[in-house]
């Protein structure tokens, strides 16, 4: 599958608050732990050899599961291949927790759900759709469920 590698490399250079050297192990049998600079940018997890400027690779963080493996290690597995896990060894429990938290929130789908939540909540509290003024109320990506329209929550309708 083709992808716009140049642009992804460029993306990997953006500043990010979540970047650290971790021990990383690939999902294949026989993969060993390697020190990598791991960096979270939007919904991608880039990993670099510690002295290089261009990433070795990237993981798109959609449809994935992040799990704690032990006190300082977490894993990322993708739903289509749930047994193949990428392992990440942190330096502390604290750091591990931070990474897990950040990665969970790094997916587009997670953000979308938050947006929908806020939208419905604001609508519920004020009676107004907060997206209307930006002219984006009808955008599919902001809809409540599977592209269907947001329904007004009026107490009388129940």
């Amino acid at each position: 599958m083709r992808f716009n590698e140049k642009e992804l490399v460029c993306l990997s250079r953006q500043p990010s608050e979540m970047a650290a050297e971790l021990g990383m192990r690939g999902p294949k049998k026989g993969d060993v732990v390697k020190r990598r600079l791991v960096k979270l940018v939007v919904n991608f997890l880039f990993y670099f050899r510690t002295d290089e400027e261009e990433p070795v690779g990237a993981l798109l963080l959609e449809q994935c599961r992040v799990e704690r493996e032990d006190s300082q290690t977490f894993s990322i597995a993708f739903l289509d291949e749930a047994e193949r896990k990428y392992l990440f060894e942190c330096d502390s429990e604290e750091q591990c927790k931070e990474w897990i938290d950040s990665i969970i929130k790094a997916s587009y789908e997670f953000m979308r759900r938050n947006l929908i939540f806020y939208r419905t909540e604001i609508h519920r509290l004020t009676g107004k759709d907060p997206l209307e003024q930006y002219g984006i109320s009808d955008e599919t990506r902001f809809q409540v469920n599977s592209g269907s329209q947001l329904m007004a929550r009026e107490t009388s309708s129940l």
Partner: protein
């Protein structure tokens, strides 16, 4: 060659292509999560200048293209971060271009089949970036906080008032939140102070798409362990103390400036979302949810409930909401409150479909734990959520029974694929 030589060689000649979890990315393209837009577009080839008709699928910030509409795998994907979408001069009609900011970047030239399609695609693609989504979410988060500040001042219980703020959001939108709004929750007018912030977002929104580079800040910085307000640490220490059968906990209400109730903490992670910072005691969550469910129950009691008990319907709604797909559940619960659905889906983070057999607490706890486990969440958290819901609807005694039974579960006993039929409404 030694290792160093290989590396220099690779750097020089870019022999090593950047790796990507391509199989999973392709899976994302074809999995059943709904796409944001699909359609045929003409795409200009990489080397030759001919336009090829391809089937395009936009999901989030990923634009996939397939050879045919029914192809099983995409030919390729364009990641839509840091790009702008413009109309372009071209021999080809209805053409537009996706341009990236980085040096030596490719320009992707696309063409639609008619004017309307072109406009629609340009709009959709220019709003597809993660950055854009993040911006909108931050703005809404800020708005919500303002509304809640106003509500809190009015003496109502302050709900969903995060004590941990993302300060970047404030500076970006350029407005400080004001609690001087006098509008009450029930009025439909929004606080005057929001107008300025809204306008600045409007400006920003027009400037985007996807070109906001200065935001190098990660989303919602995770809290440190010392957190806020609540002293609860692990799910196992969650207690039901002080909770009455009516589901209200007077002690936890009206916290004013404290952290809002949140679901119990997941193993190894705090369930921080912009709305629910760090964990809080379960009884607070109980109180918060409890009010919602009480409202829901009262409303069901008044409405024609199709012959089923209001409690049954309420629970069905909640469960359908949590499972995230009310369309597939028994058609008799067709009136699921979408608002409630979204709240729970957001909080629990799951939108998988598993309907639940409800004639025994045992099955409920088991099934709940199972489907959330497969949806990436900690079992205990989910089991607790269901216990909570059940408690609110049915009372304390059921909870105790369920807890006992749930304690005996282990992850290994769950089958890989289960659909349990919704009997609640048939019963």
């Amino acid at each position: 060659m030694g290792r160093k030589d290989v590396k220099s060689f690779n750097k020089l000649y870019r022999a090593e292509k950047m790796k990507l979890n391509e199989r999973s990315v392709a899976h994302y393209a074809t999995c059943d999560s709904p796409p944001d837009k699909t359609g045929f577009l003409f795409k200009k080839g990489e080397r030759n200048t001919a336009y090829h008709r391809r089937w395009f699928v936009l999901k989030g910030n990923m634009l996939f293209y397939f050879e045919e509409r029914d192809s099983r795998e995409p030919i390729g994907v364009i990641v839509l971060e840091g790009c702008t979408v413009e109309l372009c001069e071209s021999v080809e009609e209805f053409a537009f271009a996706v341009k990236f900011e980085c040096a030596k970047a490719r320009v992707y030239k696309l063409a639609a089949e008619n004017q309307a399609a072109m406009e629609s695609w340009v709009k959709a693609l220019s709003r597809a970036s993660f950055d854009y989504m993040r911006l909108v979410v931050k703005e809404l988060e800020r708005q919500l906080e303002e509304i809640q500040d106003a509500a809190g001042a009015g003496g109502q219980q302050a709900r969903l008032k995060p004590s941990r703020r993302n300060h970047v959001a404030r500076s970006r939108s350029g407005a400080s939140s004001s609690s001087s709004s006098s509008s009450s929750l029930s009025s439909s007018s929004s606080a005057p102070s929001m107008a300025a912030a809204q306008k600045s977002l409007q400006d920003e929104v027009q400037l985007i798409p996807g070109s906001s580079r200065e935001n190098g800040v990660a989303w919602s910085k995770p809290p440190s362990a010392s957190a806020n307000g609540s002293a609860e640490a692990a799910p196992s220490s969650v207690t039901w103390d002080g909770c009455t059968d009516s589901g209200m906990v007077s002690g936890c209400a009206g916290d004013g400036g404290r952290a809002p109730p949140v679901p119990p903490r997941r193993l190894g992670a705090s369930l921080e979302s912009p709305v629910f910072p760090d964990n809080a005691c379960f009884s607070k969550l109980h109180d918060w949810y409890g009010r919602e469910v009480e409202e829901l129950r009262a409303q069901w009691l008044q409405s024609h409930s199709l012959g089923f008990s209001p409690e049954a319907l309420a629970v069905a709604n909640i469960l359908a909401a949590v499972t995230g797909d009310h369309r597939k559940s028994n058609s008799k619960v067709a009136n699921v409150d979408k608002y409630w659905l979204n709240r729970l889906t957001t909080v629990t983070g799951s939108n998988r479909l598993y309907a639940v057999h409800l004639d025994s607490c045992f099955t409920l706890a088991w099934t709940a734990a199972f489907f959330f486990y497969t949806a990436e969440m900690n079992i205990k958290f989910v089991a607790e959520s269901f216990l909570f819901l059940f408690f609110v609807v049915e009372g304390q005694s059921h909870v105790d029974t369920m807890r006992e039974k749930a304690r005996g579960f282990s992850t290994r006993t769950f089958p890989s694929e289960v659909h349990v039929v919704l009997l609640l409404l048939g019963a």
